[in-house]
Symmetry: D3
C-alpha cells in the first residue's frame, strides 16, 4: 500500500461541529421562512457546484449536515475531498424533504466554502514547490474551534500538519531557551519531561543558534525568518541529521526560493484562518 | 442618551467560545513545552500590540482567555473594542504566572487577529459610504460556530447586523415565492405564521418584482444584483415606504456607487468569514 | 399556499428536551421496577388517549420520547398537534418492547399533559375573540428551560408568539425610557443599535405617552393596563399606523371586551406557565 | 438536633438550571433593549417582593441567577425559602450594574413565581391535614427538566417527596403484578433484584389485594382511588405494619377526609406541574 | 416470573460512557496509524475471547463501542453479561470496516477487562458464602465517573448494590450521631427529612450502640469492624427486626466466617475500584 | 533549569473530572444524610492522611473537589503530588462548612486512593530499575474516562507516558504491517501520512523483524515478548540508532532483568487500571 491514502477526519469531530453549526443557525424557532411558505410534505432535488476552480474540502461536512438536519435526505457525492475541480462541477446531489434541504443549505455551504478555500490555497503553495522535496505545513493560527477541520483541509490540499495543540509536540522558543539557560538545557529538559513518543523541535534565528541546537539533538529545528541563502547554509550544516522547517514571510511569491534551499517543511499561517473562500452554490428544484 | 453605546456581547457566549478554544489548544496534556522548561512559580509581564493600523475587536475575548486560563492573571486594557489604533499601539497588559500567559497566548491572539480583521475591513467599507445614509451589513455567511463573535466584530467596525439565524427574521427568496404562488402570497403566509415582533423581508431581482413586493407590504426588500441605476430607480419607487437593502457584487471599489443610489443597507459576506487578519503580537518579559 | 401550515418545532430542540427528561427520570439505575418484574423480551401494545376535551400539543414529543427510549418501538400517530379532540380519543399507538414502553410512559405523558394544557387554554382564549381581528399571544413568563416548547403549544392552540428572548426584538419599558430621556430618544437609540430586521416595540400606560410613542415611529406599541375604552381611543388615534398590543388583567372573562377595542394582539402569561394540565393516559396490554 | 432543618438543594443543580435558563433568555445577542438604552456603567437598586400571601420558594434560584448574570451584583436576602410571607413583603434586594439586573430579572422571577406557587399550594394542602398524622407528597408528574426544583418547592411548603425517578425506589403497579404472577411474586422479584437500601412499594385497588400485598411484606402500599372509609379499613388491617399512602381524586376539599382515615401519606400531582404561580415583582431604581 | 432476571443498565448511560471513552482515545486526529496503513475500504473479521476463566461483564459496552465507532459494523454476541466463561471462550464476533474495528478495539477491551475483573472477583466472594443467606455488596468506593458501570458489574457477578450516591439512601455515621445527639435523634431526624421511599441505615461499632440503634427503628444497621462472634451476637439480638450489614476487613479468606454469623449483607470496596482485570483479547483477520 | 520539574495536569481537565464525579455522587437530592442531621451553619476541621507508605498523587484533585463543592472551604496542602509519604502522614487540612466537607469526602478520597495507588506502584517498578538507564512507562490500557489522570499519576510515580491516544503517535503492529506489505512500506506510509512532529514506532516479535524495522528508520521500536537475552541482542544490533521499548510479561519480579538488557523503556499496563489503591482516610472534627 502506498502512502497516498485520502485524508480522514474522525466522524465524531465532524458530527460535533456540524450539530453545533446547525443549532447556531436554526436557533429557537428554526427556519421560519420555510415553515411559513413551504409545504411540510414538499420534496426537492438540489445540486451543489463550485463557481471557481479549486481543490474541494468539506464534502464530508456537507453530507453530515444534510443527514443531521434530516436522516431521510439522500445525499450522493459526485466528488471527494481532495479532488481538483473545474468551475461548474457538480459536487454532490441531495434529494428529499424541501424544507430540510433549505434549512441546512447555508451551514453546509459555509463549511464547504471555507474549507475548500483552505485546500485550494494550500494546493497553490504546493504547486510552487512541487519540484523540490519540501512540503508546506500549517500552524496553530487557526479559527478557534475549527482547528481539526482546517488542518484536515490543509491535508486535502496536499499540505502537511504541524502540531494540533500545545500538548502533542514540544516547540521550544526564545523565552523557553532564555529561562532554561540555553538550547541544550531546554532540549534536555523537554526530553526528560515528555514521553519517548513526543517530538522536540527548537526555534532558532541565527546559524550560531542553529549549530548549538543541532548539538542538543532535537527531532526538528524551526529556522525562523532566514533568507533562502541562510536556509541553504543551514541545510548544508545539518547534513541530514534533523528535520528542518522554515517559517516567516512566506507567501506565494517567496515560497519557491525558500523551498529550493533544501528545507523539509515550510510553515505558514496564510493557508488557514484567512484563506479566501471558494465560491460554491446550491441550486434547488422543488416539487 | 445617544445611540452610540459601544457594542456588547453576552459574557456567556464569550465564555463558552473561549473555554472551547482553550480546550482545543491545551488538549490532553496541556502546554508541555512550558511545563518542561518554565518554573511553575515564574512570573511574567506581557503586552499585546497591533502591528498594523486597524479597528480593534476581540479584546473582550483576550481578557476572558487569560482569566479562564488562570483567574489570578491581571489583565489591564489600554484600548477597547471598536477603537481605531495605529500600528504599534499597546492594546493590553497581562501580568502573572509565566506558564499561564504562554499557554493562553495563541488562543487570545487567534481571536484578536480574526475579529480585528473583520472590524477593520468593515470600517473600510463604512468609510467609503460615510457620506451617504447607507450602512454596510453582514450576512449568514460566517465561520460555523463563530457567528455571534463575527457579527459582534462587524458592529465594532461600525457595521450593522443582518439576521443571526434562520429563526429571528423572515427572508423570502425565489424558491419560497415560487411555491407560495407569488410575492404577496408569500408575504401574507409569513405574516400569519410569525409573531408581530418578527420582520419580513423579500428578495427581488427586477423592478417589476419590486413593485409587486411593495404592494404586499413587507418590512424590507432585498434588491439583489441590481446596478446602481436600477437601485436608484427602486429608491424612487419606494418613496420611503420600506427599508431597502442591496446585495451582490459589492466590494470596496463598488460600494460607494451602490450607497449613493440611496438604499438603506448594503449586505456583503466579504466582511466576515474571510476578512484578512489584523497582525497582532504578544511580547513577554519573564521573571 | 395559504398561511395555515401546521406549527413546527425544530427536531433538534425536541430531541434535546426529550433526552434530558428521560435522563432525569431514569437516573442512575433505570426503571428498576420493570427490570425486576418484566421479562426483557416481553412485548406490549399501548394506546395514549385524552380523558378531557381539548386541543392536543406535544405528540411530537411523545413520538420522540418513545423513539429515544428504544429506536425499535413503533409509534403510530392517530392525531396531530393542533387537532381538537373529544375526551376518549385515541391519540397514538405504541408497540414493541414492554419495558421500554413502561420506562418512557411518564416522560411522554408529562410533556403531553403540560403542552396540551397550554394549547387547550390558548384555544379557549382564541374562541372568545374569534369574531374580532385580535389574536392572543404569550409572553416571556414561561417555565425555565421549556420556553420553545410552551411557545409551540401556544401556536398549536391558535395563539401567536411574542419575543422568544431578550435578543430577538426590542421592548422598551418605563425604565429604559426614563434613562434614555424620553420615548423618542429610546426608540431612536434602539433603531441605531439593532439591525434593520429587528422590530422595536414601546410600552405605554397613558394616551399621552401613546401619542408621543407614535411620533417616534416604533413597529409596535404595548398598551399596558388600559381599559377597553382607552384601548379603543388608542386604536382610533393610531389609525392603522403601528401594531397595537394590549396587556394587563386579561382573563377568559375580560378578553372579549379587550379584543373588541380593535387592538391587534392581546398578550397574557396565563396561557403558559401555569395552564391547567390536560388529563391524558396510557393503557397498555403486555404480551 | 430536631428534624426541622430547612430544605436544601444541591448548588450544582441550581447552577445548571439557572445557567440554562439565562442562556434561553439571552439568546445570541443578549438584552438588546438594555444595550441600546442603558449606559453600560449605570447602577441600580432593586427589590423583589410578593404581591400575594404565600410560602416562598426559589430565592436560592434568584440569588444564583443574579450572581451568574454578573458576579459583581450584590444580593441581600430578606427572607428564606420556606418562609410564609404576607403580600407586599420585600424578599430580597439587589444592587449593582443596571443592565445586568434588567437582563436577569425575568429569569429570576420565572423561577420564583413557579416554585413559590408550588410551595404555597403544598402548604395549603398541609394546613388542611395538620391535625392528622398524614403528610402530602408529590409524584413524578412534574415539568420535564425541573423535577428536582419542583420537589424542593414541595419540601419548602412542608410537603414530602415521593420517588425522584424510576431508579430510586420500586413501585409495583397492576401490569407488573400481572406479569410477575401475583403481588407476592412481584414483591419477591423486586427484593431479589434491588439492593437492601431500596424500598419496595405496591399499588393496590381493593382490600383483598391489600391483604395479599401485606403478606408479601413490602415497605409501603399505595392505596389507589379508595374512599375514606375503605382507607380507614386498610389502616385497621395494616395495624402499623407498613407505610400507607393514599392517592386518587385528592384536592383541597377532599384531602381532610382522606387524611383522617389514618394513612401516612397522601400523594397528588396537583401540587407540582400546574400549581398557580405566586405573583411576585421587581421594582428598580436606576442611577 | 422468578427473580433471576439478568442485570440491566440504561442504554443512555452506556452510550454516554462509550462515547466519552472513544473521544478520549481518538483525540483530534483519530487513529492515525490505521489511516496511514489500512485501506479505507478494507474489511475484517474479529473475535473477542477471554484468556482467563471468569464471569463476563461489559459485553453491552463492547457492542455499543463498535456500533458507535461505525454503525455499519455487525456485532454478534456469543455470550451475555453474567455468563461464566472458561479461558479461550469466544465472547463476540465483529465484522465490517477494518479501520473502524481497529480504532475501537482498545476502548472496547478496556471496558471489558475492567468490568469482567469486577464481576469475576464478586463471584469469587459469592462462591465463598453461597452456603449462607448472606450476599456481598459494593460501596461508594468506585472509580470516579464509572460508578454505574462498576455497580452493574457487581450485579453481573451475583453481588448486590449498596447506595448509588449520597442521595438515594441515608447512612448515618458517627459524626452524624454525635451532632444529632444520639442514634435515636439521628434516625428520627432522617425520617422527618426524607420521603417515605428512602431507607435509613445506621453504622455502629459496638453491641451497645447496636441495641440503641435497634430501638430507633432504622431500616438497616451497618455493623462495622466486628468479629464474627460479635456479629453472631448482633444477629441474635436483632431477631430478624432489621437488615444487618457487616463491613471492615473483609477479604476472600475472611468473608466465609463473616457470612456464617448470619448477617444479611457484607459490603467491601475490594470488589470494585481495584479488582484485577480479566485478560481478554481481540484477534482480527483483515481482508 | 533542570528537568525535574513536578508533573502538571491542566486545571481544565481536573475541573471537568471533579465536577462530573461530584455530580455522580450527589445525584438529584445531594447528601441527604448530612442535610437531615448536620446544622447548615456548622463548621468542621478535617485532615486527610495516608494509612500506608506510598507516593502521593491526586492532591490536586482533592483540592479541586473541596473547592468545587464549596468555594469557601479552606484547603491547606501539607504534601504535594509526587511526594513519598510514610504511613500516618497528614497530607492536607480542610476547614469550613461541615456539610460541604462531608459531602465531598468520598469523591476526594476516591481520586486520591486510586491515583496514589498508581504512583506508588509505578515508583516500585522504577525502584527495581533505578540502576539502569531504563524507565517504566504506561500504555493505553487505562480506565475509560480517566486516562489523563492515570497518566499523570504515572508521572507522579516517576514513570514515563506512552501515547495519550490513537492520534498523537503512530504505533504500527502486525496487522498494519501485513496489509502495508512489510515493515518498510508501513513506516514509509506513516511518514507520508503524518506531520513531521509525530513519531513513528513499530512493534516486532523477532530479531529478523527488528533488523528489517531498523532499516526503515522509525523513531522507536517496540520489542514485544522477548527474553532479556533477545532484548540484549536487539540493543547490540541497534547500536543507539532508535529508541527501544520492551513489553510483555513485565512484573515486579521480572522488570529488573528486562531493564538490564539495555532497553530505553519498559511498558506495562499493570501500573494503571488495576493498581491496588493506597489506603487514605479523612478524620473530621465538627463544631
Amino acid at each position: 500500500m502506498t502512502g497516498n491514502l485520502p485524508p480522514t477526519l474522525s466522524p465524531f469531530l465532524i458530527d460535533r461541529l456540524v450539530r453545533s453549526a446547525l443549532e447556531e443557525d436554526l436557533g429557537r424557532a428554526g427556519d421560519i421562512t420555510s415553515q411559513a411558505t413551504i409545504d411540510p410534505a414538499a420534496n426537492a432535488r438540489a445540486v451543489i457546484s463550485n463557481r471557481q476552480d479549486g481543490i474541494i474540502a468539506g464534502l464530508t461536512f456537507v453530507a453530515e449536515t444534510f443527514h443531521t438536519a434530516d436522516p431521510d435526505l439522500r445525499v450522493r457525492m459526485e466528488k471527494a475531498d481532495g479532488d481538483p475541480v473545474a468551475a461548474g462541477t457538480i459536487l454532490c446531489r441531495i434529494e428529499g424533504n424541501a424544507r430540510a434541504i433549505l434549512s441546512a443549505e447555508r451551514v453546509a455551504l459555509n463549511f464547504l466554502m471555507h474549507l475548500s478555500g483552505i485546500s485550494t490555497l494550500t494546493a497553490a503553495y504546493e504547486a510552487e514547490i512541487a519540484h523540490t522535496g519540501a512540503k508546506v505545513c500549517c500552524t496553530r493560527k487557526t479559527i478557534p474551534g475549527l482547528r481539526v477541520a482546517e488542518k484536515y483541509a490543509v491535508r486535502c490540499g496536499g499540505g502537511s500538519n504541524h502540531r494540533f495543540g500545545l500538548d502533542d509536540a514540544v516547540l521550544i522558543k526564545d523565552n523557553h531557551i532564555a529561562i532554561a539557560g540555553g538550547v541544550a538545557q531546554a532540549v534536555n529538559a523537554a526530553r526528560v519531561h515528555v514521553g519517548h513518543l513526543v517530538k522536540v523541535e527548537v526555534e532558532v534565528d541565527t546559524l550560531d543558534q542553529f549549530e548549538e541546537a543541532l548539538s542538543a539533538g532535537p527531532d526538528a529545528v524551526l529556522l525562523d525568518n532566514m533568507s533562502p541563502a541562510m536556509l541553504a547554509d543551514a541545510v548544508r550544516i545539518n547534513a541530514g541529521r534533523v528535520t528542518l522547517e522554515a517559517s516567516g514571510n512566506v507567501d506565494l511569491t517567496t515560497i519557491r526560493a525558500v523551498a529550493e534551499s533544501g528545507v523539509d517543511y515550510i510553515s505558514t499561517s496564510k493557508i488557514t484562518m484567512a484563506a479566501p473562500t471558494l465560491d460554491v452554490g446550491l441550486d434547488i428544484e422543488i416539487g
